[in-house]
Symmetry: C2
Subunit: 223 residues, 2 copies
Protein backbone atom coordinates (compact mmCIF):
# COMPACT_ATOMS: atom_id res chain seq x y z
CA UNK A 1 0.00 0.00 0.00
CA UNK A 2 1.45 3.34 -1.07
CA UNK A 3 1.00 6.47 1.00
CA UNK A 4 0.89 10.09 -0.10
CA UNK A 5 4.28 9.85 -1.80
CA UNK A 6 2.96 7.16 -4.13
CA UNK A 7 0.59 9.70 -5.69
CA UNK A 8 2.42 11.74 -8.36
CA UNK A 9 0.14 14.72 -7.84
CA UNK A 10 0.77 14.94 -4.09
CA UNK A 11 3.73 17.42 -4.23
CA UNK A 12 1.58 19.84 -6.26
CA UNK A 13 -1.41 19.47 -3.96
CA UNK A 14 0.80 19.81 -0.87
CA UNK A 15 2.22 23.06 -2.27
CA UNK A 16 -1.30 24.56 -2.20
CA UNK A 17 -1.68 24.00 1.54
CA UNK A 18 -1.02 26.79 4.04
CA UNK A 19 1.41 26.24 6.92
CA UNK A 20 -0.36 23.73 9.19
CA UNK A 21 1.59 24.44 12.39
CA UNK A 22 -0.84 24.89 15.26
CA UNK A 23 -3.85 24.60 12.93
CA UNK A 24 -7.11 22.73 13.33
CA UNK A 25 -7.61 20.64 10.21
CA UNK A 26 -10.44 18.55 8.81
CA UNK A 27 -9.88 15.91 6.09
CA UNK A 28 -13.06 15.19 4.15
CA UNK A 29 -12.76 11.62 2.90
CA UNK A 30 -9.63 10.65 4.82
CA UNK A 31 -9.45 6.99 3.77
CA UNK A 32 -6.54 5.30 5.55
CA UNK A 33 -5.57 8.59 7.21
CA UNK A 34 -2.34 9.29 5.31
CA UNK A 35 -3.02 12.99 5.12
CA UNK A 36 -4.14 13.22 8.77
CA UNK A 37 -0.86 11.71 9.94
CA UNK A 38 1.17 13.86 7.56
CA UNK A 39 -0.63 17.00 8.81
CA UNK A 40 0.49 16.12 12.34
CA UNK A 41 4.11 15.86 11.17
CA UNK A 42 3.65 19.45 9.94
CA UNK A 43 2.60 20.56 13.41
CA UNK A 44 -1.18 20.58 13.03
CA UNK A 45 -2.71 20.95 16.48
CA UNK A 46 -5.70 18.75 15.78
CA UNK A 47 -6.88 16.78 12.76
CA UNK A 48 -10.36 15.39 12.25
CA UNK A 49 -10.43 12.62 9.64
CA UNK A 50 -13.86 11.86 8.20
CA UNK A 51 -14.78 8.95 5.99
CA UNK A 52 -17.92 7.03 5.12
CA UNK A 53 -16.04 3.72 5.19
CA UNK A 54 -15.82 2.08 8.61
CA UNK A 55 -13.29 -0.36 7.16
CA UNK A 56 -10.97 2.43 6.03
CA UNK A 57 -11.30 4.19 9.37
CA UNK A 58 -10.46 0.92 11.12
CA UNK A 59 -7.25 0.67 9.08
CA UNK A 60 -6.49 4.34 9.77
CA UNK A 61 -6.87 3.81 13.53
CA UNK A 62 -4.76 0.65 13.40
CA UNK A 63 -1.86 2.62 11.92
CA UNK A 64 -1.13 4.21 15.27
CA UNK A 65 -2.84 6.18 18.00
CA UNK A 66 -2.29 9.94 18.11
CA UNK A 67 -4.19 12.11 20.59
CA UNK A 68 -4.12 14.90 17.97
CA UNK A 69 -6.03 12.85 15.38
CA UNK A 70 -9.67 11.92 15.62
CA UNK A 71 -11.33 9.66 13.06
CA UNK A 72 -15.08 9.77 12.64
CA UNK A 73 -17.46 8.05 10.34
CA UNK A 74 -19.39 10.59 8.29
CA UNK A 75 -21.25 10.76 4.99
CA UNK A 76 -20.28 13.86 3.02
CA UNK A 77 -23.84 13.97 1.58
CA UNK A 78 -25.27 14.79 5.01
CA UNK A 79 -22.25 16.14 6.87
CA UNK A 80 -22.70 18.33 9.94
CA UNK A 81 -19.77 20.23 11.43
CA UNK A 82 -19.60 22.75 14.26
CA UNK A 83 -19.33 26.37 13.05
CA UNK A 84 -16.02 28.30 12.87
CA UNK A 85 -13.98 25.36 14.16
CA UNK A 86 -11.32 24.66 11.51
CA UNK A 87 -8.48 26.66 9.98
CA UNK A 88 -7.99 24.29 7.05
CA UNK A 89 -10.31 21.88 5.26
CA UNK A 90 -8.72 19.35 2.90
CA UNK A 91 -10.15 16.75 0.58
CA UNK A 92 -8.44 14.47 -1.91
CA UNK A 93 -10.48 12.84 -4.66
CA UNK A 94 -13.70 12.61 -2.66
CA UNK A 95 -15.93 15.50 -3.76
CA UNK A 96 -16.69 14.00 -7.18
CA UNK A 97 -18.66 11.28 -5.39
CA UNK A 98 -20.85 13.86 -3.63
CA UNK A 99 -24.22 14.54 -5.21
CA UNK A 100 -25.33 17.39 -2.95
CA UNK A 101 -22.15 19.42 -3.36
CA UNK A 102 -23.82 22.79 -2.60
CA UNK A 103 -24.94 21.57 0.83
CA UNK A 104 -21.48 20.18 1.61
CA UNK A 105 -19.81 23.46 0.64
CA UNK A 106 -22.20 25.46 2.80
CA UNK A 107 -21.30 23.18 5.74
CA UNK A 108 -17.55 23.48 5.10
CA UNK A 109 -17.74 27.26 4.68
CA UNK A 110 -19.56 27.59 8.00
CA UNK A 111 -17.11 25.21 9.71
CA UNK A 112 -14.07 27.27 8.70
CA UNK A 113 -12.93 30.30 10.65
CA UNK A 114 -12.76 33.62 8.75
CA UNK A 115 -9.49 33.47 6.81
CA UNK A 116 -9.72 29.67 6.71
CA UNK A 117 -8.84 27.71 3.56
CA UNK A 118 -10.31 24.79 1.67
CA UNK A 119 -7.88 22.88 -0.54
CA UNK A 120 -9.20 19.96 -2.56
CA UNK A 121 -8.69 17.71 -5.55
CA UNK A 122 -11.33 16.04 -7.69
CA UNK A 123 -11.22 14.04 -10.87
CA UNK A 124 -11.09 16.49 -13.76
CA UNK A 125 -14.33 16.80 -15.76
CA UNK A 126 -12.43 15.99 -18.97
CA UNK A 127 -11.70 12.67 -17.27
CA UNK A 128 -15.21 12.07 -15.92
CA UNK A 129 -17.27 13.39 -18.86
CA UNK A 130 -17.09 10.65 -21.51
CA UNK A 131 -19.72 7.95 -21.74
CA UNK A 132 -16.85 5.54 -22.53
CA UNK A 133 -13.70 7.06 -21.02
CA UNK A 134 -10.40 5.93 -22.43
CA UNK A 135 -7.58 6.59 -24.87
CA UNK A 136 -8.04 6.04 -28.58
CA UNK A 137 -5.31 5.63 -31.20
CA UNK A 138 -6.42 6.72 -34.65
CA UNK A 139 -5.24 5.49 -38.08
CA UNK A 140 -2.35 8.00 -38.06
CA UNK A 141 -1.17 6.73 -34.67
CA UNK A 142 -2.39 9.83 -32.90
CA UNK A 143 -3.40 9.10 -29.30
CA UNK A 144 -6.33 11.15 -28.01
CA UNK A 145 -8.94 11.18 -25.23
CA UNK A 146 -12.34 11.47 -26.93
CA UNK A 147 -14.78 13.74 -25.11
CA UNK A 148 -18.53 13.73 -25.12
CA UNK A 149 -21.18 14.80 -22.63
CA UNK A 150 -19.00 17.46 -21.02
CA UNK A 151 -21.98 19.68 -20.28
CA UNK A 152 -24.32 16.79 -19.52
CA UNK A 153 -23.67 17.06 -15.81
CA UNK A 154 -24.68 14.42 -13.30
CA UNK A 155 -23.99 10.79 -12.46
CA UNK A 156 -21.44 8.58 -14.20
CA UNK A 157 -21.40 4.90 -13.39
CA UNK A 158 -18.04 3.15 -13.27
CA UNK A 159 -16.83 -0.18 -11.98
CA UNK A 160 -13.73 1.20 -10.35
CA UNK A 161 -13.16 0.17 -6.69
CA UNK A 162 -16.54 -1.54 -6.58
CA UNK A 163 -19.35 -2.39 -8.96
CA UNK A 164 -21.77 0.42 -9.39
CA UNK A 165 -19.70 3.26 -7.94
CA UNK A 166 -21.31 6.51 -9.07
CA UNK A 167 -19.28 9.64 -9.78
CA UNK A 168 -20.85 13.06 -10.16
CA UNK A 169 -19.60 14.76 -13.32
CA UNK A 170 -19.49 18.54 -12.92
CA UNK A 171 -17.91 21.07 -15.25
CA UNK A 172 -15.19 23.31 -13.83
CA UNK A 173 -17.57 26.26 -14.13
CA UNK A 174 -20.25 24.50 -12.07
CA UNK A 175 -17.73 23.54 -9.37
CA UNK A 176 -16.38 27.09 -9.14
CA UNK A 177 -19.82 28.73 -9.21
CA UNK A 178 -20.99 26.45 -6.36
CA UNK A 179 -17.90 27.48 -4.36
CA UNK A 180 -18.55 31.18 -5.05
CA UNK A 181 -22.23 30.69 -4.20
CA UNK A 182 -21.23 29.17 -0.84
CA UNK A 183 -19.28 32.34 -0.05
CA UNK A 184 -15.76 31.20 -0.94
CA UNK A 185 -13.17 33.29 -2.78
CA UNK A 186 -11.34 31.42 -5.55
CA UNK A 187 -7.59 31.60 -4.88
CA UNK A 188 -6.06 29.04 -7.27
CA UNK A 189 -7.21 26.53 -9.88
CA UNK A 190 -4.85 23.88 -11.24
CA UNK A 191 -5.67 21.35 -13.92
CA UNK A 192 -2.76 19.22 -12.82
CA UNK A 193 -0.01 18.20 -15.19
CA UNK A 194 3.35 16.66 -14.25
CA UNK A 195 6.59 18.62 -14.59
CA UNK A 196 9.24 17.66 -17.16
CA UNK A 197 11.34 16.20 -14.35
CA UNK A 198 8.43 14.01 -13.21
CA UNK A 199 7.85 12.76 -16.74
CA UNK A 200 11.54 11.88 -17.09
CA UNK A 201 11.32 9.87 -13.88
CA UNK A 202 7.95 8.29 -14.74
CA UNK A 203 7.36 8.44 -18.53
CA UNK A 204 3.82 7.04 -18.18
CA UNK A 205 2.82 10.37 -16.64
CA UNK A 206 3.28 12.16 -19.99
CA UNK A 207 -0.35 11.39 -20.88
CA UNK A 208 -1.50 13.76 -18.12
CA UNK A 209 -0.29 16.62 -20.34
CA UNK A 210 -2.62 15.41 -23.10
CA UNK A 211 -5.74 15.40 -20.90
CA UNK A 212 -5.74 16.30 -17.21
CA UNK A 213 -7.02 13.72 -14.73
CA UNK A 214 -7.07 15.94 -11.66
CA UNK A 215 -8.45 19.35 -10.78
CA UNK A 216 -7.05 21.15 -7.72
CA UNK A 217 -8.79 24.13 -6.20
CA UNK A 218 -7.83 26.43 -3.32
CA UNK A 219 -10.48 28.73 -1.91
CA UNK A 220 -10.74 30.95 1.14
CA UNK A 221 -13.43 31.99 3.57
CA UNK A 222 -13.09 35.74 3.77
CA UNK A 223 -15.74 36.55 6.36
CA UNK B 1 -23.70 40.03 -41.77
CA UNK B 2 -25.24 38.98 -38.47
CA UNK B 3 -25.02 41.11 -35.36
CA UNK B 4 -25.07 40.07 -31.74
CA UNK B 5 -28.37 38.22 -32.10
CA UNK B 6 -26.81 35.94 -34.70
CA UNK B 7 -24.49 34.52 -32.03
CA UNK B 8 -26.29 31.80 -30.05
CA UNK B 9 -24.18 32.46 -26.97
CA UNK B 10 -24.99 36.18 -26.82
CA UNK B 11 -28.04 35.94 -24.48
CA UNK B 12 -25.92 34.05 -21.93
CA UNK B 13 -23.02 36.48 -22.20
CA UNK B 14 -25.37 39.47 -22.01
CA UNK B 15 -26.87 38.05 -18.81
CA UNK B 16 -23.44 38.32 -17.15
CA UNK B 17 -23.21 42.05 -17.76
CA UNK B 18 -24.09 44.55 -15.05
CA UNK B 19 -26.62 47.31 -15.73
CA UNK B 20 -24.84 49.61 -18.21
CA UNK B 21 -26.97 52.73 -17.63
CA UNK B 22 -24.70 55.72 -17.14
CA UNK B 23 -21.58 53.54 -17.24
CA UNK B 24 -18.23 54.04 -18.97
CA UNK B 25 -17.53 50.93 -20.99
CA UNK B 26 -14.54 49.63 -22.94
CA UNK B 27 -14.86 46.84 -25.53
CA UNK B 28 -11.55 45.03 -26.10
CA UNK B 29 -11.65 43.73 -29.65
CA UNK B 30 -14.81 45.50 -30.79
CA UNK B 31 -14.79 44.36 -34.44
CA UNK B 32 -17.69 45.99 -36.27
CA UNK B 33 -18.88 47.66 -33.05
CA UNK B 34 -22.05 45.63 -32.48
CA UNK B 35 -21.52 45.52 -28.74
CA UNK B 36 -20.58 49.22 -28.54
CA UNK B 37 -23.84 50.21 -30.20
CA UNK B 38 -25.86 47.78 -28.10
CA UNK B 39 -24.26 49.15 -24.92
CA UNK B 40 -25.49 52.62 -25.90
CA UNK B 41 -29.05 51.28 -26.30
CA UNK B 42 -28.70 50.12 -22.67
CA UNK B 43 -27.86 53.66 -21.58
CA UNK B 44 -24.06 53.44 -21.39
CA UNK B 45 -22.72 56.98 -21.01
CA UNK B 46 -19.60 56.37 -23.07
CA UNK B 47 -18.20 53.40 -24.94
CA UNK B 48 -14.63 53.01 -26.16
CA UNK B 49 -14.32 50.37 -28.87
CA UNK B 50 -10.80 49.07 -29.45
CA UNK B 51 -9.65 46.85 -32.28
CA UNK B 52 -6.39 46.10 -34.05
CA UNK B 53 -8.13 46.04 -37.44
CA UNK B 54 -8.43 49.41 -39.14
CA UNK B 55 -10.78 47.82 -41.66
CA UNK B 56 -13.17 46.63 -38.97
CA UNK B 57 -13.07 50.02 -37.25
CA UNK B 58 -13.84 51.66 -40.58
CA UNK B 59 -16.92 49.48 -40.93
CA UNK B 60 -17.89 50.20 -37.32
CA UNK B 61 -17.66 53.96 -37.89
CA UNK B 62 -19.60 53.67 -41.13
CA UNK B 63 -22.53 52.09 -39.27
CA UNK B 64 -23.47 55.43 -37.74
CA UNK B 65 -21.97 58.26 -35.76
CA UNK B 66 -22.70 58.42 -32.04
CA UNK B 67 -21.02 61.02 -29.82
CA UNK B 68 -21.10 58.42 -27.01
CA UNK B 69 -18.98 55.91 -28.94
CA UNK B 70 -15.31 56.31 -29.71
CA UNK B 71 -13.45 53.80 -31.84
CA UNK B 72 -9.69 53.52 -31.56
CA UNK B 73 -7.13 51.30 -33.13
CA UNK B 74 -5.22 49.38 -30.47
CA UNK B 75 -3.23 46.17 -30.18
CA UNK B 76 -4.25 44.21 -27.08
CA UNK B 77 -0.64 42.95 -26.81
CA UNK B 78 0.61 46.44 -25.97
CA UNK B 79 -2.55 48.19 -24.80
CA UNK B 80 -2.33 51.29 -22.64
CA UNK B 81 -5.41 52.69 -20.90
CA UNK B 82 -5.83 55.55 -18.42
CA UNK B 83 -6.21 54.38 -14.80
CA UNK B 84 -9.59 54.07 -13.03
CA UNK B 85 -11.55 55.22 -16.07
CA UNK B 86 -14.06 52.45 -16.85
CA UNK B 87 -16.91 50.81 -14.95
CA UNK B 88 -17.17 47.85 -17.28
CA UNK B 89 -14.67 46.12 -19.57
CA UNK B 90 -16.02 43.67 -22.12
CA UNK B 91 -14.38 41.37 -24.60
CA UNK B 92 -15.88 38.78 -26.92
CA UNK B 93 -13.64 36.09 -28.42
CA UNK B 94 -10.50 38.23 -28.54
CA UNK B 95 -8.37 37.27 -25.53
CA UNK B 96 -7.38 33.87 -26.94
CA UNK B 97 -5.38 35.71 -29.60
CA UNK B 98 -3.39 37.59 -26.96
CA UNK B 99 0.01 36.17 -26.10
CA UNK B 100 0.91 38.53 -23.24
CA UNK B 101 -2.35 38.01 -21.36
CA UNK B 102 -0.87 38.88 -17.93
CA UNK B 103 0.16 42.35 -19.16
CA UNK B 104 -3.27 42.97 -20.70
CA UNK B 105 -5.04 41.95 -17.49
CA UNK B 106 -2.84 44.26 -15.41
CA UNK B 107 -3.77 47.11 -17.78
CA UNK B 108 -7.50 46.32 -17.64
CA UNK B 109 -7.47 45.95 -13.85
CA UNK B 110 -5.82 49.36 -13.49
CA UNK B 111 -8.22 50.93 -16.00
CA UNK B 112 -11.30 49.81 -14.06
CA UNK B 113 -12.67 51.75 -11.13
CA UNK B 114 -12.91 49.89 -7.80
CA UNK B 115 -16.06 47.79 -8.04
CA UNK B 116 -15.66 47.65 -11.81
CA UNK B 117 -16.32 44.45 -13.76
CA UNK B 118 -14.62 42.59 -16.59
CA UNK B 119 -16.87 40.24 -18.57
CA UNK B 120 -15.33 38.23 -21.40
CA UNK B 121 -15.61 35.20 -23.61
CA UNK B 122 -12.80 33.15 -25.13
CA UNK B 123 -12.68 29.95 -27.08
CA UNK B 124 -12.78 27.10 -24.59
CA UNK B 125 -9.48 25.25 -24.10
CA UNK B 126 -11.19 21.94 -24.95
CA UNK B 127 -11.85 23.55 -28.32
CA UNK B 128 -8.38 25.05 -28.79
CA UNK B 129 -6.26 22.22 -27.33
CA UNK B 130 -6.19 19.53 -30.03
CA UNK B 131 -3.44 19.38 -32.62
CA UNK B 132 -6.16 18.41 -35.13
CA UNK B 133 -9.43 19.82 -33.78
CA UNK B 134 -12.63 18.24 -35.03
CA UNK B 135 -15.35 15.68 -34.45
CA UNK B 136 -14.69 11.98 -34.93
CA UNK B 137 -17.28 9.24 -35.41
CA UNK B 138 -16.08 5.84 -34.21
CA UNK B 139 -17.04 2.36 -35.44
CA UNK B 140 -20.04 2.27 -33.05
CA UNK B 141 -21.32 5.58 -34.44
CA UNK B 142 -20.31 7.48 -31.32
CA UNK B 143 -19.44 11.11 -32.05
CA UNK B 144 -16.66 12.55 -29.90
CA UNK B 145 -14.19 15.44 -29.79
CA UNK B 146 -10.73 13.91 -29.34
CA UNK B 147 -8.48 15.87 -27.00
CA UNK B 148 -4.73 16.03 -26.83
CA UNK B 149 -2.25 18.66 -25.68
CA UNK B 150 -4.63 20.21 -23.15
CA UNK B 151 -1.77 21.12 -20.82
CA UNK B 152 0.67 21.93 -23.62
CA UNK B 153 -0.17 25.60 -23.44
CA UNK B 154 0.85 28.13 -26.06
CA UNK B 155 0.28 28.88 -29.74
CA UNK B 156 -2.10 26.98 -32.00
CA UNK B 157 -2.02 27.73 -35.71
CA UNK B 158 -5.31 27.68 -37.60
CA UNK B 159 -6.43 28.80 -41.01
CA UNK B 160 -9.66 30.31 -39.76
CA UNK B 161 -10.36 33.92 -40.90
CA UNK B 162 -6.93 34.18 -42.47
CA UNK B 163 -3.95 31.93 -43.18
CA UNK B 164 -1.64 31.66 -40.24
CA UNK B 165 -3.89 33.08 -37.53
CA UNK B 166 -2.38 32.07 -34.18
CA UNK B 167 -4.50 31.32 -31.14
CA UNK B 168 -3.06 31.07 -27.65
CA UNK B 169 -4.22 27.89 -25.97
CA UNK B 170 -4.54 28.33 -22.20
CA UNK B 171 -6.11 25.96 -19.70
CA UNK B 172 -8.99 27.30 -17.59
CA UNK B 173 -6.74 27.14 -14.55
CA UNK B 174 -4.09 29.30 -16.22
CA UNK B 175 -6.67 31.87 -17.33
CA UNK B 176 -8.19 32.09 -13.85
CA UNK B 177 -4.83 32.21 -12.06
CA UNK B 178 -3.70 35.06 -14.33
CA UNK B 179 -6.91 36.94 -13.47
CA UNK B 180 -6.40 36.33 -9.74
CA UNK B 181 -2.75 37.35 -10.08
CA UNK B 182 -3.82 40.63 -11.69
CA UNK B 183 -5.95 41.38 -8.62
CA UNK B 184 -9.37 40.31 -9.90
CA UNK B 185 -11.96 38.39 -7.89
CA UNK B 186 -13.57 35.51 -9.81
CA UNK B 187 -17.35 36.02 -9.80
CA UNK B 188 -18.66 33.53 -12.39
CA UNK B 189 -17.29 30.94 -14.79
CA UNK B 190 -19.46 29.43 -17.53
CA UNK B 191 -18.42 26.76 -19.98
CA UNK B 192 -21.26 27.69 -22.26
CA UNK B 193 -23.86 25.18 -23.35
CA UNK B 194 -27.17 25.93 -25.06
CA UNK B 195 -30.47 25.48 -23.23
CA UNK B 196 -32.96 22.78 -24.27
CA UNK B 197 -35.12 25.48 -25.87
CA UNK B 198 -32.18 26.71 -27.94
CA UNK B 199 -31.38 23.20 -29.12
CA UNK B 200 -35.01 22.68 -30.14
CA UNK B 201 -34.83 25.87 -32.20
CA UNK B 202 -31.36 25.12 -33.63
CA UNK B 203 -30.62 21.38 -33.37
CA UNK B 204 -27.04 21.87 -34.63
CA UNK B 205 -26.26 23.49 -31.28
CA UNK B 206 -26.65 20.16 -29.46
CA UNK B 207 -22.96 19.42 -30.04
CA UNK B 208 -22.04 22.25 -27.66
CA UNK B 209 -23.28 20.02 -24.82
CA UNK B 210 -20.77 17.36 -25.89
CA UNK B 211 -17.76 19.70 -25.78
CA UNK B 212 -17.96 23.41 -24.97
CA UNK B 213 -16.68 25.89 -27.53
CA UNK B 214 -16.87 29.01 -25.35
CA UNK B 215 -15.68 29.98 -21.90
CA UNK B 216 -17.30 33.00 -20.22
CA UNK B 217 -15.76 34.64 -17.18
CA UNK B 218 -16.96 37.50 -14.98
CA UNK B 219 -14.48 39.07 -12.58
CA UNK B 220 -14.46 42.15 -10.41
CA UNK B 221 -11.94 44.71 -9.30
CA UNK B 222 -12.46 44.97 -5.57
CA UNK B 223 -9.96 47.67 -4.68
Amino acid sequence: MRGLDGAPEWPSLRALLPDLAGKRVVDLGCGFGWFCRWARTQGAAHVLGLDVSAKMLGRARAMGADPGIEYERADLETLALPPATFDVAYSSLAFHYVENFAALLATVHRALVPGGKLVFSVEHPIYTAPAHPGWVVDAEGRRTWPIDGYRVEGPRRTDWLAKGVVKQHRSIGTTLNLLIGAGFTIAYVDEWAPSEAMIQARPELAEERERPMFLFVTVGRSA
